[in-house]
């Protein structure tokens, strides 16, 4: 039962981390390599509001999310819009921005164990005879709720439908009067805020450290590649495959194999279906 309980927790955590990246790529075809930096930025901003200004935790978190969303949208408007469609340039530019943000934090002295966020609850629950700390249980519940909200937003709101239209066929969406740049800007803002939401949920489990930004980017990339770049449903399914692969390998082979097993899972999926589980980029070539 340990494997089931912690497998679900690990998978939901991975899905949360990857969702923002998948959303931005799905809509604007823009690989946001500053995703991890925006994750860490939310953590440091929340910490600053909470500890330096003494604001309430919820208010600090909401303000941090708004700021992170605006930073993400600002990055798109100021830099990425100019190179949109040039895949390599997009990767290099967004990675450079992420690097500057993360190393900037390090340069400004954001290092050490001082930067932590309080957990949502200090209780411990017993689920299926397995003890689990309350915060992790809340991560699963709130994570599922965020995914539901995102689904509802993209299916029942005008902006959400426009975003989906863009994701399906940008040219057709433009013919219907949808402003492609505005939607990409919104997607970048929303994707950045999603990176921020995952930070608010997951950072209280440990410390806010610069290195986390790099880890998060790698995790998001792995999940999105297996799921199929641009597919939100694929990202969630991939998060469960990798999440369970890690937990099963830790339980039966040892913790040191968890990275190896998750990499094997990625390689296996890519050998069998190079576009990822729900990817459509090379679908035609694969069929041929």
């Amino acid at each position: 039962m340990d494997v089931v309980v912690y497998g679900v927790i690990n998978s939901v955590s991975l899905a949360l981390v990857a969702l923002g990246f998948a959303l931005v790529y799905g809509i604007s075809r823009l690989p946001n390599f500053a995703h991890g930096a925006l994750y860490v930025t939310t953590g440091f901003i929340t910490w600053s509001f909470l500890k330096s200004l003494g604001l309430n935790y919820v208010i600090s978190g909401v303000l941090a999310l708004i700021i992170t969303g605006l930073v993400g949208a600002g990055i798109y408007r100021a830099i990425l819009i100019r190179i949109r469609g040039m895949a390599i340039s997009e990767i290099i530019a967004s990675y450079a921005i992420g690097l500057a943000i993360l190393e900037g934090f390090r340069y400004w002295g954001f290092k050490g164990m001082t930067y932590t966020l309080p957990t949502f609850t200090k209780k411990t629950f017993i689920l299926l005879d397995v003890p689990v700390d309350g915060h992790r249980v809340l991560v699963v519940v709130l994570g599922a709720f965020v995914m539901f909200l995102l689904w509802a937003f993209t299916h029942y709101t005008k902006v959400g439908l426009a975003l989906r239209g863009m994701a399906q066929d940008e040219r057709a969406a433009m013919m219907l009067g949808i402003d492609s740049d505005l939607m990409a800007l919104l997607a970048m803002g929303l994707g950045s805020a999603l990176a921020g939401i995952s930070a608010l949920f997951l950072l209280p489990l440990g410390n806010i450290v610069v290195e986390k930004g790099y880890d998060v980017l790698i995790q998001a990339l792995a999940v999105c590649i297996v799921g199929g770049l641009g597919s939100w449903a694929g990202a969630i399914l991939a998060a469960f495959i990798i999440g369970f692969a890690q937990v099963v390998s830790t339980a039966y082979l040892g913790a040191k194999f968890q990275m190896v097993v998750s990499l094997i899972a990625i390689l296996t999926v890519l050998i069998l279906k190079p576009s990822g589980l729900f990817g459509r980029q090379k679908e035609l070539e694969e069929r041929v």
Binding site: I9, G112, P131, D133, G134, G206, E211, D215, T250
Partner: protein, 421 residues
């Protein structure tokens, strides 16, 4: 008028030079290759700079007939960061030697793998290096002993893994005698010194009659330890011996508390628990964690009269207590070097090596001497005999030194839930 002004300037200049002779001399450059984003890097940098400030304030270092100040050059090696290749640290060392013209290398490289890889480089440039933080691998001083002529420029002034293992075993014995705890589970980070130490402690603990239930190796950067902790719980282990220097080990200790695992965490190079910020970082959940901070002075004790002097000076200068491995040893590395240079009367590396081999002084963590064959600081359990270690336990928000007995300030405690049947 103009001539008068010129006269005043010249007299001022002469007086300035006369009144501050140390500053006028060419400084002795101490090159510090340190992973500054991590505890063992930044705390070493602080230790070195504190000692240099004190020495320069008292006039500097006497080299033959002249007195020269120390100057510090630090380059971030990033060798404690996951995924950063050893070559980065080697480039930092080379840059310190060739570009910054470092006369001596102090502090790092911090990761054992990088420190070992830097040895041929130091030998090639005949550059004396005193390792004072991070690197714990016994292979370092064993290599010096095996190829003395080649590696005689390499010294280490902090404790190494074998001594740490002895200290940890002493802690196990104490726990066995006091609380009857004799079942151990070992949790290590996937890095050279931790894996090696885990293997050694497993072997020695078995020889001493302890029941070693298992060993789990976690990749650097692990953020969820629940499955490993469940394995500890199932095994019935009573002591959790941890060898991890990654900051994520704070998560392990939070989960240990949340899951109420009945095994006392006993860490070595457990960087997270060494730092004063650990209590806040774990919201107090890390209480009862035992942790080896390698040398006295990195936590409050009265090992020697100098221990608390250093402790207070560090706290006053930086607004935080000495934070862990690297603080007291890096501070003492500067003083040991000063002593050797003054006795050698020159900066000639071969002569300073000879002088360092004869260092015998009372330092922050006891009597300081280097083994003349291996250049490893001579360890001891009594500060009068040699460099003494320091094992602390988190008790009610404070770091209390509990072992070795010669410098202890309190007794080992265990949480209430471990006492319940």
């Amino acid at each position: 008028m103009k001539r008068g002004l010129l006269f005043v300037c010249v007299v001022g200049l002469i007086l300035g030079l006369w009144m501050n002779p140390v500053q006028a001399q060419k400084p002795i450059v101490l090159g510090c290759p340190l992973s500054t984003a991590f505890l063992y890097g930044w705390t070493a940098e602080k230790g070195v700079k504190l000692a240099v400030e004190e020495i320069n304030a008292k006039g500097g270092v006497k080299v033959g007939n002249e007195t020269r100040p120390f100057a510090v050059e630090v380059i971030d090696t990033r060798d404690l960061e996951p995924g950063v290749p050893v070559s980065e640290a080697l480039m930092a060392v080379e840059k310190l030697i060739l570009e910054k013209k470092a006369d001596f290398i102090l502090g790092g490289p911090v990761r054992s793998e990088a420190a070992l890889a830097a040895m041929p480089l130091l030998s090639k440039h005949k550059k004396i290096s005193i390792l004072s933080t991070g690197a714990l691998s016994p292979k370092y001083h064993e290599t010096v002993a095996q190829e003395y002529d080649k590696y005689k420029y390499c010294f280490r002034i902090h404790g190494e893994a074998k001594q740490l293992v002895k200290e940890i075993l002493m802690g196990f014995e104490e726990l066995k005698q006091k609380y009857g705890l004799d079942k151990i589970y070992i949790l290590v980070q996937d890095v050279a010194h931790a894996r090696a130490s885990g293997e050694i402690i497993s072997k020695l603990a078995k020889e001493k009659g302890f029941d070693v239930k298992g060993m789990e190796v976690f990749p650097t950067g692990t953020t969820d330890f629940s499955m490993g902790l469940m394995a500890v719980k199932r095994s019935g282990a009573q002591i959790m011996n941890i060898w991890m220097d990654m900051p994520e080990s704070a998560i392990l200790l939070r989960q240990w508390y949340d899951l109420k695992i009945k095994a006392l965490p006993f860490g070595s190079t457990l960087a997270a628990a060494e730092q004063p910020g650990f209590w806040k970082a774990t919201e107090g959940k890390g209480e009862f964690t035992l942790c080896n901070v390698v040398n006295a002075g990195n936590a409050p004790s009265n090992a020697t009269p100098w221990t608390m002097q250093f402790y207070d000076a560090y706290t006053k200068k930086y607004g935080i207590e000495p934070e862990g491995l690297g603080a007291s040893s890096s501070y003492m590395a500067v003083y040991a070097l000063k002593d050797a240079i003054e006795r050698a009367g020159t900066l000639d590396p071969d002569k300073v090596v000879e002088a360092l081999e004869k260092v015998d002084m009372e330092g922050v963590y006891g009597r300081l001497r280097f083994d003349p064959k291996s250049h490893q600081v001579v360890p001891a359990f009594d500060p009068k005999e040699g460099a003494v270690g320091s094992i602390l336990q988190w008790q009610a928000g404070k770091r209390v030194v509990v072992l070795p007995k010669s410098i202890a300030k309190g007794e080992i405690l265990i949480p209430q839930w471990m006492k319940e049947k």
